[in-house]
Structures are given as structure tokens and as C-alpha cells.
């Protein structure tokens, strides 16, 4: 019988538990460096810093393990549990009986069934992003193709995720034989993972621990473990306790670099901050807010910021970096954990850029930097704040803060007025505007609801109507990868992690049609009382807009080969009803408030709702077009079928 046999409680390793440099020491070292001015430092500096400053907090556990005796499947579960993993997303496959036996024996592990490997990976990723822990999925290797799209999204989003089964190849005696459900390339998931390997029974838990180390990085991301032996081999396996919160290597910038960044920040007339996903991942929200307020530095985010990393209602918040127009003569930009992986960097080309990231792979990739700082973002913010305190008198700081705050506040107030005008201009229009839906959501949702968007660039029209950041509404997604078919299962995973929050999935009709309706099965099975809003404009508006914005033949002809979705005119609420969920459809703006109230009541009562809202397409006039290349098999068939019936 499988059992845990304790040899000795594992000793905590003190030497690995901290960076070994106190804040006081750091400040003293900072003061001692003096100033080292000058720009043009290459991002290569990051590598040097990685050697000099990086110090793992808890790369791999040390000390005496517990020894598990039993099946290898049982050992894997024991090691997962020792890392705090209790929720296992899963898609049906044969061959997992030993693992299920272990799960049943454990008694405190929840399997969440999902009907498609791609949805399973998205749900596990959503769970990881919401819980800030490790997402776990197991399924059949044959579902690797299904999983790839959302594996790619998780990789782009740097989500710590572990899958077992996905990615497996034939490593047995019949390699090259093209056998049933077999292929030979063992590295099929390699482009979208931070590590991929094959499980072996005699080192299953060791592989698992290394997989977790890779998953948390940095760089963090998905790990796929393929192969396996069915899990019924008898093993004696060491089990170590792992705290995912301390798995990530923690780095701290050299004091002179912080000093330099602080000096530039003080000297800049018009600095701008960019807040990125690492602020959210590290929980550095309060520190980020305090630093911005210290000198009243305006704050932006990129168009695909994964989380609400700064309060969007704050007078210092200017919105998207890509749209940045003010301050007019920016003379310093400091990025706090924004990877810029999908961002146009044009706005930055003439501005000195300081990039702070805990991920050495990110620094300097999309652009040349003036100062690259490899550091945990939260620590860097605190260090920067301390360095400023050491350089400026309180009076000087207050003067800078007050002058700048007055200017930025006046500007953000005007921009808010413009948004209000945009909202009111078509407030009662039917089909409805994105802004109107956002406005109504703000009125009915809980203050701390979690929004999971998967819509095009119109998403900002909704999100700027919502009060987000800090103790207010949170945002997870849109996936930086942007491969459609992620949102609903990801939102489901978020709800699994956060059962006490309202979770709202924002979907375009086009995105939902990327095979997402089956995710409603899991939502119904596990009674996830979510709201799924379908922004139904009957068109792939985003791509049509881009394709047509410069005019051209198709624009003048009113032709769009792949954009129009209104034929058939899908009733998304009825899809929900087919799964036993509640469906709502709103075509008139005046009906929206009451429908929203009914949705919230249904969520309160424990049942998910799909709210299908008729949305006006925007962009060029061609957005109204309903042309598509018609083809009817029923019309062209030459043979009468079904006559015998």
C-alpha cells in the first residue's frame, strides 16, 4: 500500500531564503556609490547583473525529504500536493487509473474535467494567473495538437503551468513505425514551453521539482511532461515541500544602477512610468502607486497589459502607452515589469528608457535600452523610492509633486470629459456601444469583480468605464498571445481559483466561435456562477477594420471574404440554455439595465449566464457590410438525397 514514510522533517535552508542584503545595507551601499551618469548602456549589462546580483531564494528545496512508497503516479501526486497543488484540470483519456486511485486516496484533491485539451490548458492558466500559483493540467498526449494554441498563449503570458501527457511522443521500441497515436518528435511543444521533458518512473518526483523550477523561472512559463509509464510502477520517491511563492529566483539590482535611475528620474522634467504584468505577478501594486505619487509621475500601460497594475481612475493614469500624447516632451520612460513583447516601440524611440524586470530574457529584446535593471520589480521600486528619499529634501519633493500633479490632473480630467462625451454621444443607440455595456457593468458588478477580456482593441471602451485596480475590479488577460479561443475557459479557471469573486468573461462573438462553447460544459458541471458577455457585432470587426482602413478594391466594392458573421445569426443565449445555463439576449439599449440586473441575480443564485448583446460595429463604413462569398451545397447538388426515406 502506498504510504508516506517520514524519515525526518525537512530542514529549511536559511542560506537560500533571502538575498542576504538588507534594505539598510542597500541604502548605505547606494549612498556610497555616488553618481554614475551617462546613457547608452547596453542591455548586455543585464547579463552581468544576473551574475553579480542574482541570488536564488529557493531554487530547489534542500534538506531531508519524506519518502513516498507506492506507485509512481502516487509519488507524482504526493509531490504536487507538497507544492500546494490541489486542483487538477483534466481532459478525458485512458490510462490514468493509478493516478485517479492516488487522487481518491488523497481525499483533498479536486479534479476539474474539461472537454478539450485546449480549454484545459486555458483553464489551468487562468487558475494560475488568478491564484499566483502553479497551474496543472493532465490529459492524453494525443491531445497535444488541441492544446497547442492555448499553450502558446500561456507561454506568451509567462504563466507557471505544468502539464502531464501533453507533448508526449513515441519513445518506445516502435519509434519510426507510425503506430497508433504515435509520432516521433519528442519536442513538439518546445517552442511554447520553458522546458519540456518525458516523465520516467524512477525519477518522477525529481523531474517534477525541476519542472516547477522551470515553470516559475524567470522566465516563467509552461512546462510539458510527456511520456510516462502509466503510473503503476512501484517506487520509493523523495518528496520535498515546495512553496510556489518562493520558487521564483529573486534578483536585486546593484545599488549604482538604482542610484542612476533615481538621478535620471529626479532630473527629468517629463518622466513617464509604464506598468507591466510583473507588477501584478509580484503583488507590487501598493509600491507602484506610492512611487508614482511620490513625484507625481504619469503612468501608462501597454495595450495588452495582463493585469490591472495601476488604478485606472487615478489622476496620474494616462492609459495606453501607444496613445501617449502627454506630456508632450517626454524625457524619460521607466518600465516596471512591462515586457514590451507586443508593443509598438515607436513612442520610445527618442526617449531614454530604463527597463526594470525580473526576467533577464525580457530586458532589451524589443528595443535598445539606456539602462537595463535586472531585479524583482517590487524590490526595485522600494530601492528606487529609498534612493529618491536620499537625494531630495522633503520640500523639494513636495514642490515637484504638487506642480506636476496639477498639470497631469488637469489633463486627465479633460480626457475623462472626452470619454464621457464619447459615452453620451451614442448612449441610447441600438445596436449598443461597447462603452454603454461597460457603463452598465460598472453599475451592477461587485466592486472587486474580476474581468477576463478576450476582445479586440475595443476592450478599452469597456474597461475605461470600470473602476479597476487595487481593491477594485481586477483584470486578467487578454492573453498577450491573442490566439482566440482562450477567454471563456480561462475565465472558468479564474473562477475555480476565486470562488468568492464575481468573474466576468468579455467575449466577442467571433472569439466565442473559436470553439469556446464547450467550455460552458465545465461551467455548468462545476456550477461556476460566471457572467459571459458576448459582444455580438456579427463581424470580425478588428480584422475588417485593419483590412479596409486604407480603402482599396474590397472597400469600394463592399466585399469582405472572411469578416461577416451574421449569417447564420447565432443565438448565443440558446447555446447557454443547451448546457442548462441561463441565456439573455439584448438588442435594445433601453433593455440593457434590466437584463444586467437579471444576470447578477442569476450569478447570485449560483447559475452562470451568457448575455448576448447586440453591438454596433465601428470603424470604416464598410463595417456595416454583410457581403460574403456565398456557397450553398444544398443548391448545387445534382443528386436528390434521402429519397428512400
Amino acid at each position: 500500500m502506498a504510504a508516506l514514510r517520514t524519515k525526518k522533517q525537512s530542514a529549511e535552508s536559511e542560506e537560500n531564503s533571502s538575498s542576504g542584503l538588507s534594505r539598510r545595507d542597500f541604502i548605505a551601499a547606494t549612498a556610497a556609490t555616488g553618481l554614475a551618469m551617462g546613457v547608452g548602456e547596453s542591455a548586455r549589462a543585464a547579463q552581468a547583473q544576473a551574475v553579480a546580483a542574482a541570488k536564488p531564494e529557493n531554487a530547489l528545496p534542500k534538506g531531508q525529504p519524506e519518502i513516498f512508497v507506492g506507485t509512481s503516479a502516487g509519488a507524482i501526486l504526493a509531490q504536487l500536493k507538497a507544492a500546494g497543488v490541489r486542483t487538477l484540470f483534466h481532459t478525458n483519456v485512458s490510462g490514468n487509473v493509478p493516478f485517479f486511485e492516488a487522487i481518491e486516496k488523497a481525499g483533498d484533491v479536486q479534479v476539474i474535467n474539461v472537454t478539450h485539451e485546449g480549454h484545459g490548458v486555458a483553464a489551468a492558466a487562468g487558475y494560475a494567473m488568478a491564484s499566483r500559483g502553479l497551474g496543472f493540467f493532465f490529459g492524453g498526449h494525443i491531445g497535444t495538437g488541441n492544446a497547442m494554441s492555448n499553450l502558446y498563449c500561456a507561454w506568451k503570458d509567462r504563466v507557471p503551468l505544468l502539464t502531464i501527457g501533453i507533448g508526449g511522443a513515441n519513445e518506445g521500441a516502435n519509434q519510426g513505425a507510425d503506430g497508433q497515436e504515435q509520432w516521433d518528435n519528442p519536442l513538439v511543444t518546445e517552442p511554447f514551453t520553458v522546458w519540456t521533458a518525458n516523465l520516467v518512473a524512477n525519477d518522477a518526483t525529481g523531474l517534477l521539482r525541476r519542472a516547477m523550477k522551470f515553470a516559475f523561472g524567470p522566465p516563467s512559463g509552461p512546462v510539458t511532461l510527456g511520456g510516462g509509464t502509466g503510473g503503476d510502477d512501484q517506487v520509493q520517491a523523495p518528496i520535498y515541500k515546495i512553496d510556489p511563492a518562493t520558487m521564483r529566483y529573486k534578483t536585486r539590482a546593484q545599488p549604482d544602477l538604482i542610484q542612476r535611475a533615481a538621478q535620471w528620474l529626479i532630473e527629468a522634467q517629463n518622466p513617464v512610468f509604464v506598468v507591466g504584468a510583473e507588477v501584478g505577478v509580484e503583488g507590487a501594486y501598493d509600491e507602484m502607486l506610492a512611487l508614482a505619487e511620490k513625484l507625481s509621475v504619469p503612468v501608462t500601460e501597454t495595450s495588452h497589459s495582463l493585469y490591472a497594475n495601476f488604478p485606472n481612475y487615478h489622476p496620474l493614469f494616462l492609459g495606453e502607452l501607444e496613445a501617449l500624447r502627454y506630456p508632450r516632451k517626454q524625457d524619460l520612460l521607466i518600465s516596471f515589469g512591462e515586457s514590451f513583447t507586443t508593443t509598438q516601440v515607436d513612442p520610445l524611440k527618442n526617449v531614454p528608457v530604463v527597463h526594470i524586470s525580473h526576467d533577464p530574457n525580457t530586458l532589451g529584446r524589443p528595443m535598445a535600452l539606456d539602462l537595463a535593471i535586472l531585479s524583482e520589480v517590487k524590490t526595485a521600486i522600494r530601492d528606487l523610492s529609498d534612493a529618491i528619499d536620499g537625494m531630495l529634501t522633503k520640500d523639494r519633493m513636495a514642490k515637484i509633486r504638487a506642480t506636476r500633479l496639477a498639470e497631469i490632473s488637469a489633463l486627465t480630467a479633460e480626457l475623462k470629459q472626452s470619454r464621457e462625451m464619447a459615452l453620451r454621444a451614442r448612449f441610447d443607440a441600438s445596436p449598443m456601444t461597447w462603452e454603454r455595456v461597460g457603463y452598465e457593468l460598472e453599475k451592477v458588478l461587485d466592486k472587486d469583480a474580476v474581468i477576463v477580456p478576450e476582445v479586440g482593441t475595443q476592450y478599452y471602451k469597456v474597461l475605461r468605464q470600470l473602476t479597476m485596480g487595487g481593491p477594485n475590479k481586477q483584470k486578467i488577460g487578454r492573453t498577450v498571445g491573442q490566439a482566440l479561443g482562450w477567454g471563456v475557459p480561462a475565465a472558468f479557471g479564474v473562477n475555480v481559483a476565486l470562488p468568492d469573486k464575481q468573474v466576468v468573461s468579455l467575449q466577442g462573438d467571433g472569439g466565442f466561435l473559436f470553439g469556446q462553447s464547450e467550455a460552458l460544459w465545465s461551467i455548468a458541471r462545476y456550477e461556476a456562477p460566471m457572467l459571459i458577455v458576448i459582444f455580438n457585432n456579427h463581424v470580425y470587426n478588428e480584422s475588417r477594420d485593419r483590412n479596409m482602413q486604407n480603402g482599396g478594391h474590397f472597400y469600394t466594392e463592399g466585399k469582405d471574404f472572411d469578416g461577416y458573421l451574421g449569417d447564420p445569426n447565432v443565438e448565443y443565449g440558446k447555446i447557454a440554455e443547451a448546457y442548462g445555463l441561463k441565456g439573455e439576449k439584448v438588442t435594445n439599449a433601453s433593455d440593457l439595465p434590466a437584463a444586467m440586473q437579471r444576470c447578477v441575480k442569476s450569478m447570485r443564485d449560483g447559475k452562470a449566464v451568457v448575455l448576448d448583446v447586440d453591438i454596433a460595429p465601428d470603424g470604416p463604413v464598410i463595417s456595416q457590410g454583410t457581403w460574403y462569398q456565398r456557397h450553398s451545397i444544398a443548391e448545387i447538388r445534382k443528386k436528390k438525397l434521402g429519397i428512400s426515406a
Binding site: G319, R325, L415, S418, E435
Partner: protein, 197 residues
Amino acid sequence: MHGRRENNRILFLAAGALVLWVAAADLGRGLLAQASASATSDKQAQIEKGKEAVGQTCAACHAPILRMAAAQKQNEEQWKDTIYSMIGRGAEILPDEIEPMAAFLADTSARGGPAEAQAGGGGGRGGRGGQQPAGGEAADGRAVLQRSCQQCHDLTQATTKLPSEDWTAVIAKMTGYGVRLTPADQQKLIEYLNGLK
């Protein structure tokens, strides 16, 4: 006599009225012309303000904004809707810029291109495009300019360089940024730009 005197009085009054009417009409026409000129001037000022705001706001994400405006043929109200839509998407547009931007974009739509391009393919803000006679190699060079440069620059910008640079260096830099130009087209473009007065 009485009747004749009366007739003279009527004639006098009629003549006076005619003079007054003509004078009033002249004055009215003058005032109308003045008002019209003032309205045109106001509209032009609004369009100019809109042009500046469009340049600062739209081009960040829509490099060929002027070509878009020309292609989409929207009127002022439709452009205002588009501007509202872009504000929703995050464009930093101030309340008093909305009407001028709509006016400029509608004007550009109506002309089939920006005003300075209509006037000769460039000009304004120090640009020099269009001051070379059309035809022959110059026409070829201008075609390359319009085809390859207008994607990211308006013609004003695309025909202006720093005094310290020559056009060969500028074109080399742009091809380094990814602009696809055959060597022959590069040569046509350089000759055209060098020929601008």
C-alpha cells in the same frame, strides 16, 4: 401744379429710396462677404487646429492616417463618430479638439487627400514636395515617394531632411528600417528629392 410738384416729390423720394436701397444692398453684400470670409477663415482655422491634433494623435497608431481619411470618404458627423470611437479606445483627444479633428478629416475626405497634397504633393510645415514640374523621371520619383514613404510619413515630412544629411543617407536609413525599395527606385527617389527646390 400741385400734381406736378407732387410727382416731383414722389420721384425724389423714389430716387432717394433707390439710392438707399443700392447702398444698403452694397452694404449687405459687403457684410455678407465679410461674414462669409470670416466663416471661411474660422473654418480654415478649425481645420488647421484639427490637422495639428490629428497629426499628434492619430498617426501614432495609424501612420497613413491621411490616406485612410481620403479613402474612407466620411462626412464630418461620421468622422466625429469615429473620433468618439477612438477616444473610447484610449486616444488622448481633448474635448475642444473633437470638432476640429472631424472638420479636418472630413475636409481631407472631400478633397481625396490632404490639402497640401492637392496643391502639389507636399508643402506646408517646411516641406518642399511638389515644387518640381511633373512628368518624366520626376513623376517616377514622386510616384515612389507616394508609394513608399507615405505609409509612415505625410509628404511634408517625407520631403524634409536635416541640413547635415543627404538624401542618399536618409534613404539608406529608411531601407534599414525595412522600407522595400529596389536600387532603381532608390535612385529615382534620390534624384527626385534632390531636384526639389
